[in-house]
Symmetry: C2
Subunit: 343 residues, 2 copies
Amino acid sequence: MESFTIKDVARICGVGVSTVSRAINNHPDINPQTRQRIMEVIKQNGYIPNNSARNLKRTESRTIAVLIRGITNPFFQEMIKTIEQITERRRYSFLLQQVDEEDDEIEAALELEKEKKPCGIVFLGGTYTHKEEKVRKLKAPFVVCTITLGPDVSQDLYSSVAIDDVLAGYEMTSHLISLGHKKIAMVAAREDDRAIGRMRLEGYCKALEDHGIPLDPELVLYAEKGQNAYSMANGYQKVSQFIQSGKEATAFLVISDNAAFGVCKAIRDAGKSIPEDYSVASFDGLEMASYYNPTLTTMKQPREKMAVEAMEILLDLIDGYGQNQHRVFQAQLTEGESVRRID
Amino acid sequence: MESFTIKDVARICGVGVSTVSRAINNHPDINPQTRQRIMEVIKQNGYIPNNSARNLKRTESRTIAVLIRGITNPFFQEMIKTIEQITERRRYSFLLQQVDEEDDEIEAALELEKEKKPCGIVFLGGTYTHKEEKVRKLKAPFVVCTITLGPDVSQDLYSSVAIDDVLAGYEMTSHLISLGHKKIAMVAAREDDRAIGRMRLEGYCKALEDHGIPLDPELVLYAEKGQNAYSMANGYQKVSQFIQSGKEATAFLVISDNAAFGVCKAIRDAGKSIPEDYSVASFDGLEMASYYNPTLTTMKQPREKMAVEAMEILLDLIDGYGQNQHRVFQAQLTEGESVRRID
DNA sequence: TTGTACGCGTTATCAC
DNA sequence: GTGATAACGCGTACAA
């Protein structure tokens, strides 16, 4: 109950608390013997330093924090691994915190900063609209992954690493068109989406236009309010409805691989097959996309590269070299079995 | 830089720090007007209380902590949602922390306890071998999900919620046998596994024995050291090798749904089909299992129920009612398209 | 109802 | 190389 503190260690060892502190934190100016004796006592008694007290006192904590939006998002899981590895290789400690779907990630970061004093922050996903005033309060350098912060925030305040989502939408749509598809339905995000969802949709619209195909509003399947557009359930529901309604399409362009799994099942459950009756294409390039049956044709995001780049930018920022950067990657069209050429 | 503290708020409002503290923490003995004025100043200046300092002072923090082993594990993701909801409905705050694959989760909990002073802890997954001495140091009540702590720890010290993994293995194996399968290969965990993997394998062995089928060691496909047995890649690799080796089997019993996705792909890539050439059965009942093609026959864990039950036990423990409990659930055999009857 | 002052466990800054 | 001691920001007796 009454916890074992640094004072107890000091008392038992017959030294001052500062000496114990030095031992714990690998300070150079300490007698190796003293240090060893202290470490022994610590181990024997199972002493664990109180992090709250440490963070309270410390000015900066050689920690890199990762704030992830929606921990259930399979897309970020591989990125986390990469970031964690780099972090540890560079002798930083790693702190992962999720932020709720409804919460403001900048707010969360502000709080985190007061508490843990990280020397750098990585945001995985997030929302598009923030006020510069708030962003400006963050004092640690930070990198935003897979999104940018919107037009209201000066680009000098942060770094970002993302793909060109408009282009990705454009490319995949063009690909489908080049294979003869004209009636391409898009399983989109919510209509009020201002982030990735909107951009991919924009690319879709632009590609149609450039190829002289009029946009049919009935072929844009927005997610309902309160639904998670990127979920399998949403993909399933929207496409089930669509097929039942009797509307025609030869291909579905789906906002994410995950939603595409739902779309595929909806097609099967309707007694149709892929890609004979409907082609399915999507975005992200999850590991599962290549294990699914059929394997998905998808715009693969270079997750590994993005994670590495994000960390390089961040570490440079921390070291004081370099300035904020905004790197744009290209998604790579990866052909699977889910799309076919039609006549 | 120099952060905005409770003192600044007090100074601006012309009150004492304790009054501000009372306002923040919703203490009753404060003038509503004073309170309102303080809250206004707080909002205007974007004051954020320093959690480290709070936790340092607080003896207990109406927080329920969830320690999850391997955040990438899709199995836990639905449980997290449920736990979070219950936590919030009961006005506790929710803290999610991952523990690395190699780390000791009890150690992590001990540290967490010093730092955040949670009033209860939920472990999602974990290892089987712990020393009672260490477990005894945890002072908050805790519930372990999907596992138990092993024979070395007194059952009075903790609660647990899990399925009977031996039985699950037994039932699925019996099911396959009842459909005419005799050569059932098991894609197992590592040979040195002492937890879930071992128990499911045990059920498999027992079922074979009870049905008079001799155990063929060549049909037990242990994961290699350093491989994650529950990964798609492992399922893919072990079964690819198996098929290439020319050994015979009519069904694969796979340690988890996730690994089973890899197994399915391996079978397809070998030019075979499911369930015509090989039946595939697995454990967990992930959401993806019902979206996959074919849908998987799997022993579904009642995740929702388990999460709810875990929280009920924990909340009772926190309130001082009730004692530690060990609830064992049964996994439910869910038939999909991946298994067929053979002659 | 409000303010003052102390202590939580640690690290940093001094002297020694 | 080591030991006092002053912060760090907050909650809370206790006094007013």
